[in-house]
């Protein structure tokens, strides 16, 4: 502690750690309270949709914001997770959680596969390759009628089995609040996992690759391998969102995973603030709730949505995360360091 710079740095780090735990605590309280505040079916449904979208957004942000891989096909991994888990349950009678693991694994492996293939492509080529992958997955779901029933869809998908401990039902997932706790809890754990990963040396490696891959390579960092790793993790998280979506909605149609869904997820990440994990969480919530709030506008609601998206990009390019930072600095809550 003789180094004065280090001595000064330590309390700052401790404060950061404390505020992080405070943040986690607030998140847990919010997750517990939300379904108690919003008790009607409509808003409880939206809450769960929010949680699913949060999973999608943080997964994509991990790929896009931390390794700079422009993935325009996130809907594909979402759809693969949903269809693989559902088909295993419906066709083979495999228990839900085993099918869940399979769906997550399949989506992750598909992401690794695409990334391995695309890792030598840069920027816009990867963008179009991933878009192409999403189009192919959507078309396969639509046209492999003997397996997926195509546009007719799969109906009557059961919710996850009730959580029973020692003969007592702890949580019955036919209940909307219980389902929300399940998905939000999972999203919360994924968030902690990803944010620990981002803060670890791995995260620093990823940032180095994003900022300048050539310089990173000169330090002996294998950029390609880490990009593939990040892509796999992000797609696996999308796969989990897909499994939850299928069992929550109870119906699967291929059009839920059209490329426009990938654009929606991308918009959540950008509006929230790419490259921060917390930003996309709020981006996902905002862009899920906004179209619902605007429902009174009828046909014009998505026009307003599109305009809002353009407006954010024009005037708040760092998204909600940047806006929050500006507000905090204005209020003087942030130390000048």
């Amino acid at each position: 502690m003789s180094d004065p710079a280090l001595a000064q740095q330590m309390p700052g780090q401790r404060a950061a750690l404390r505020s992080r735990w405070l943040g986690y605590l607030l998140a847990v309280i919010a997750i517990i309270l939300l379904p108690l505040i919003f008790t009607d079916t409509y808003w409880r449904t939206n809450l769960t949709v929010c949680a699913i979208n949060v999973l999608l957004a943080i997964g994509l942000d991990f790929i896009l914001g931390y390794t700079g891989q422009l993935n325009l096909g996130h809907s594909a991994f979402y759809g693969l997770g949903a269809y693989v888990s559902t088909l295993l349950i419906v066709k083979l009678g495999i228990p839900f959680w085993l099918a869940f693991v399979a769906g997550v694994g399949f989506a992750g492996i598909a992401g690794i596969f695409l990334s391995l293939f695309a890792v030598r492509l840069r920027g816009h080529y990867l963008a179009i390759a991933s878009l192409g992958f999403a189009v192919i997955v959507h078309q396969i779901l639509l046209n492999w009628i003997s397996l997926t029933q195509g546009p007719l869809g799969i109906y009557g998908i059961a919710p996850p089995p009730a959580l029973v401990i020692a003969g007592t039902v702890i949580a019955d997932f036919r209940n909307l609040a219980a389902f929300f706790y399940l998905v939000a809890g999972f999203a919360f754990l994924s968030y902690i996992l990803l944010s620990q990963l981002v803060r670890s040396p791995i995260g620093e490696t990823l940032t180095a690759i994003r900022e300048d891959e050539v310089s990173a390579a000169s330090l002996g960092i294998n950029g390609a391998a880490w990009k593939v790793f990040a892509f796999g993790v992000g797609s696996a998280v999308a796969g989990a969102a897909g499994c939850f979506y299928a069992s929550f909605v109870g119906t699967l149609v291929p059009d839920a995973f059209f490329v426009s869904e990938a654009f929606n997820i991308l918009a959540m990440v950008i509006v929230g603030g790419m490259g921060t994990l917390i930003g996309p969480v709020f981006g996902a919530i905002l862009l899920t709730v906004l179209p619902e709030v605007l429902r009174g506008l009828g046909d014009l609601r998505l026009v307003v949505y599109g305009a809002a998206l353009t407006f954010v990009v024009l005037f708040m390019p760092g998204g909600l995360a940047q806006a929050a930072r500006v507000v905090r600095e204005k209020l003087g809550l942030r130390r000048s360091a």
Binding site: F117, I136, F263, A267, L302
Partner: protein, 294 residues
Amino acid sequence: MTTTIVLQQAINGVVLGSLYVLVALGLTLIYGVLVQINFAHADFVTLGAFAAYFFMHLVGGGYILSIGVAFAVGAALGWLINASIFTPLRRKGNELLPLIATIGVSVMMQNLMLAWFGPIPYAFETQYSSEVLRFAGIFVSWQSIIIIAVSSLTIALLYAFMKFTFLGKALRAVSQDRETAGLMGINPNQLIMLTFVIASALAGMGGAMLAPVLVLTPFAGTSVIVKAFAIVIIGGFGNVEGTILAGLIVGLIESYTTQYLDPGLIDIVVFALLLLMLAIKPTGLISERREENV
């Protein structure tokens, strides 16, 4: 009999392909000059189709003139959107933001059209669709002949413009190296605007000619644009000759897949080809040398 089918489908493929070329050329021009992917391009196609439809049904104009109207509407709207949204954004110098803005603009345009025109498909028929020329067992509608004539003329004009006029050369100079072109006294901003207007006009015109083939709803352009992206990549981003070649190939793939396999497989075949291209030769059919600064 089989040769007739092969020939018939070849003609259908070329008709479709030349329309895809019109749409994809706009994308590739914008990419060449701006290094930007434009998702709103799809909606210029849709808007062109609607402009032609309403010009014929409300004003009572002829079909060929309506193609010109769609061209003008595309150009005007291209100018408006570039001036109001994309130009201010480019000054911020981030490459991802304009991409997201094009998604925002696309959502806005699609839903404005949905609010105005409704979700029910419009039947777009021209007097030329039913008039058919027949020779050696092959049918060619006048509609197809008009499409091939107008699009090849447009493509030839564009090509001549790019190759032989001063503006066209300046445009190619900017797409090769924006900074150096700027040092040579070329104003990149004016050329960006020009590119945007040309691209949007081509998309509008393509829409007017695609309308009889498409199911004309506010979302009609999306199905075209996805293929146009594939074409742009297969042909090599920013490469005009490659785009023309790839557009015709994709048109032919579509007509032969419909004939011999299943119409539902079209996109799968096209995008499998795209991924294959990316695996083997990511620079496209005709590659241009492009230096990358490290």
